[in-house]
């Protein structure tokens, strides 16, 4: 067998290996209910801000605590806790993608991706408290 072919086989094997390990990282979109079943694992939840309930951010008390309520796709509303500053234009967001996990009855998220109604570039704003 030619060396080039061996190399190509090795590369293909590595590529497949890499992809298989990657798929393990992939997350899924869940609702609050399904996220609760697998409590402690991280998921993405798509929802809308529940405007009937108050959101809470008081930097004087704690600059890293922002809580609000979100309806998920099934309409279930839950309290969401984000450990960071309140994102700009949060009220205007049309829908929100939360990354985090259920803890008891609260959803603790470490990343918020907002989609705003107007049709612009850079409409979406992502906020995360993860380190780069």
């Amino acid at each position: 067998m030619k060396k080039t072919n061996i190399i190509l086989l090795v590369v293909i094997a590595v590529a497949i290996g890499v992809i298989v390990t990657m798929v393990g990282d992939f997350s899924t979109y869940e609702t609050f209910a399904t996220a609760r079943e697998k409590e402690g694992k991280e998921f993405h939840v798509i929802g809308k801000l529940d405007t009937l309930q108050a959101m809470h951010y008081d930097p004087i008390k704690d600059a890293n605590l922002f809580s609000f309520y979100v309806h998920d796709k099934t309409g279930e509303s839950h309290k969401v806790v984000f450990y960071g500053a309140k994102p700009t234009d949060f009220e205007k967001a049309e829908s929100i993608v939360l990354t985090g996990k259920m803890e008891g009855n609260e959803f603790h998220c470490n990343k918020i991706l907002m989609k705003c109604p107007s049709k612009y570039k850079d409409d979406q704003v992502a906020v995360s408290n993860k380190q780069i």
Partner: protein, 827 residues
């Protein structure tokens, strides 16, 4: 209906130019095709003349479109949707260009202009390659022009017209305002440019990036031309400087975007593995691979097929990146993609038009492409160039695979596989940055080491002892330097465990090795001949980029940690790791300790003609023992404050040192107007005689006497007024002493008025509301407003040695430039 106050001429002219560009580029495509396929020399000559003129005509038309659009934006013709959507009257003039290319149509236009310029350049320089290469170019321009048409063909909307009037937009057609002829009277201002784009990088970054995009078509066009006219080797020589030019421009464009993100966005960094960033990085990786296989081919005849493949796939990936960002498919996953404009199908077709013929022809004619029967020697340079290119390809595959998750979802649901296997939509990894880092770090390690070693190998075969002999010194030096950095630098990034930390140390060695190895190569391999050292210089720069990325991210430190609250939570709980508490509240004028600094927020300021608010933050570093100030500086992180919605869009400010950056931005600030409005403290009534005193929280007020000729800024005496001022003295706990004089007056002998006096520093408001002559008393109403707490919430990070990254980028660009110059001169 006839509408009043519209300026229709520039729009009609612009739309005409757009159609002209469409038609002219179509003619150019057909004409160039006929030059390639024609047999009669005379006919070919006349086709060629037609082709050239129509390409030049389409270039002029594209410039015409650009000019018309600029005129519209410059004159604030808000009857055009583009102007209304992306500009406003208060937009500083230098950002008009940013708003021009902030929207989809503008970015196509920019791309199209670069294509035209490069095309005209190639007409002049590419000699007998002109016809086939320019066929590809004209086709690209034809597709680009179709994106700006905005007309319906067989019921499909083709392209999007940047000159659409506001009243013609589908969402506005039924709006009542556009049913009146003088609607322009009511449209005074546009929506404005997104504030994150109001940054000088946004003036320069898109043109450079799109020049990179546009220049990627040149290697594609030459490779395709080679296959098409069955001259499989002749295209290699003219393409080499262009391929280098493409990686130089695209790389510069990408890194300018990183610089913009670092300076204007506040995710705290320059790279976040965002899908839009990834999509432009991947073609760069494959083109770099292609440049290296091309070198191998030129020296030995190996790897020609892979060169074809890499050049094709790079441009296809450019088109794929444009599809990802512009079709709206990234919707849920990216921060800065466009939303769907109904052009998904068109973008997909434009990608396939180039992909299918290129890959198809490569497969059909693979047997005809010359190759060397003898296989590469393991001690040869060409063998390792090939291996390195494959490693880059793996990097590209991994990044593309994860970036394309939304596409996989579409494909799975489109083919019905999703319902078949009862699958859910796949979401991106929840820790996406680590997901990329943990794979790419290994690739960086291998690529770094290859960069150091492979230059020392010879083509064909290297004498066995030579490599070890030549590599011995650089290897020892690199190991020593790595040891030194590891010892002095104390990298202890253990967030992801010991395995990842090991990888970090390996990458530290690999990047130092790349720098040192190439540095030595300039002397031992090239004998110090600097004019041939372009590649080595570029490789040194690349090693510096790796090193800068590694150190600035692994040793990045958040200094704005809110330690007080952390203790409250329990610092050792599971929660405290998840909740890094990276924002800190700074009350006005109260110093707060952050890392080595005492930081004080001292207020904000605005300047006339500048829409931003600047927050004044003072840093002071004190000597631990003596308490003497070692260093003092002020940073002004700023923000666009939208008073109405209390929205804050902030820009970071950094203190640059040679060895580190202190990077700060404001993440929240109180809304002052609202706080003042919501103050509902009631006035308290006091009846007082002369000499009486009243206490308030910070001191007391004494009524000294009454004044029948009172003076106050807010009181203008009139004839017949009966006015009395109450002379008040205010004494505070801190022995400050103020005077107040509220006024009570009767005008026209029946109406009672009172003029309030206030003492801002103490939040004191005093009204003189009544005179009671019988008791010889007066009535005062006193309000002590709850003091307004001014504060900001801030985040501060330290990026050590980020200058190594920026310098590395400059060195890489410079080295690539040297190589291009050398290649062009030698021709």
């Amino acid at each position: 209906m006839k509408f009043v106050g519209e300026h229709l001429l520039p729009g009609q002219l612009g739309h005409f130019f757009a159609i002209l560009a469409f038609v002219a580029s179509m003619v150019a495509t057909v004409a160039y095709y006929n030059v390639v396929k024609g047999k009669e020399p005379l006919a070919r000559e006349s086709w060629k003349r037609l082709a050239r003129w129509s390409f030049i005509l389409q270039s002029a038309a594209v410039v015409g479109v650009f000019t018309c659009l600029y005129v519209i934006l410059y004159n604030h013709y808000f009857e055009y949707k583009y102007a209304w959507r992306n500009t406003s009257r208060d937009l500083p003039i230098q950002y008009l260009l940013s708003s021009l290319w902030s929207d989809q149509e503008g970015s196509f236009l920019l791309w199209s202009i670069w294509n035209s310029i490069l095309g005209i350049f190639l007409i002049r320089t590419s000699k007998n390659w002109e016809a086939p290469v320019m066929t590809i170019f004209s086709l690209a321009q034809f597709i680009m022009a179709s994106m700006l048409l905005g007309i319906f063909i067989l019921g499909y909307k083709v392209g999007s017209n940047p000159f659409m009037l506001l009243r013609e937009a589908p969402e506005n057609q039924l709006a009542p305002i556009f049913q009146t002829p003088d609607y322009m009277q009511h449209i005074h201002d546009g929506n404005g440019l997104n504030v994150t784009l109001q940054n000088y990088w946004m003036v320069i970054h898109p043109p450079v990036l799109f020049l990179g995009f546009a220049s990627m078509i040149i290697p594609f066009a030459f490779a395709f031309a080679g296959l098409w006219v069955k001259d499989y080797t002749g295209w290699v020589k003219p393409v080499q400087p262009w391929a280098l030019f493409a990686i130089m421009m695209l790389g510069t464009g990408i890194m300018m975007g990183a610089a913009w993100a670092y300076e204007s966005l506040n995710f705290g960094g320059y790279w976040a593995w965002d899908p839009v960033e990834n999509a432009s990085l991947v073609p760069w990786l494959t083109m770099v691979a292609g440049v290296h296989t091309l070198l191998a081919y030129k020296a030995t005849g190996h790897s020609l097929k892979s060169t074809f493949f890499f050049f094709f796939i790079s441009y296809v990936l450019i088109l794929y990146s444009s599809f990802l960002t512009k079709s709206g498919v990234l919707g849920d996953t990216s921060v800065h993609s466009f939303t769907d404009m109904g052009m998904t199908a068109q973008l997909l077709i434009s990608m396939l038009v180039f992909t299918i013929p290129a890959i198809g022809l490569l497969i059909i004619r693979r047997k005809d492409i010359p190759s060397v029967k003898k296989e590469e020697n393991s001690y040869s340079r060409e063998f390792w160039l090939f291996v390195g290119s494959l490693i880059l390809l793996i990097a590209a595959i991994q990044i593309t695979f994860t970036t394309s998750i939304p596409v996989w979802n579409k494909v799975l649901s489109g083919t019905g596989l999703k319902s078949l296997f009862n699958m859910n939509d796949i979401a991106p990894p929840s820790d996406s940055i680590f997901h990329y880092n943990k794979i790419q770090i290994w690739i960086a390690i291998v690529v770094g080491i290859l960069t150091a070693i492979v230059q020392f190998m010879r083509y064909k075969d290297t004498p066995r002892g030579e490599i070890t002999k030549k590599l011995a010194v650089p290897t020892v030096v690199s190991l020593l330097l790595t040891g030194l950095v590891a010892w002095k630098g104390t990298i202890t990034y253990d967030t992801y465990g010991a395995g990842f930390l090991t990888a970090i140390y390996l990458m530290l060695f690999a990047s130092i090795y790349a720098i040192v190895g190439n540095f030595f190569y300039i002397f031992s391999g090239l004998k110090g001949k600097l004019k041939n050292a372009g590649a080595s210089v570029a490789h040194i720069g690349f090693g510096m980029v790796l090193l800068g990325v590694l150190i600035s991210s692994a040793k990045m430190e958040v200094i704005s940690l809110d330690r007080m609250k952390m203790l409250g939570d329990g610092i050792f709980t599971k929660e405290s790791k998840q909740n890094p508490r990276e924002n800190i509240m700074l009350p006005k004028d109260v110093p707060v300790q952050m890392g080595d600094y005492h930081v004080t927020y001292t207020g904000d300021s605005v300047a006339q003609g500048d829409p931003k608010t600047y927050y004044v933050v003072q840093y002071e570093k004190k000597d631990r023992q003596t308490g003497k100030a070692l260093e003092r500086f002020t940073l002004y992180p700023d923000a666009f404050v939208n008073k109405k919605e209390n929205a804050l869009s902030s820009n970071p400010a950094s203190r640059h040192y040679l060895t580190k950056d202190i990077f700060t931005y404001v993440s929240a600030a109180p809304n002052r107007d609202e706080a003042a409005k919501s103050d509902t403290t009631p006035y308290v009534t006091h009846e007082m005689k002369q000499g009486d005193s009243v206490f308030f929280s910070k001191g007391f007020i004494v009524l000294k006497g009454l004044n029948t000729k009172p003076q106050n800024r807010n009181y203008v005496p009139q004839n017949g007024d009966l006015a009395v001022g109450a002379e008040l003295e205010v004494y505070t706990q801190t022995d400050d002493h103020f005077k107040l004089q509220p006024i009570y007056f009767i005008r026209d002998s029946s109406y009672q008025y009172s003029v309030e006096d206030t003492l801002a520093p103490l939040n004191l408001n005093v009204r003189f509301s009544k005179i009671m002559p019988a008791e010889n008393k007066i009535e005062l109403k006193i309000k002590e407003a709850t003091s307004f707490n001014d504060y900001i919430v801030m985040k501060a990070l330290i990026f050590p040695y980020i200058n190594v990254l920026w310098l590395g980028i400059l060195v890489t660009i410079f080295g690539t430039g040297m190589s291009i110059y050398q290649k062009v001169r030698r021709r």
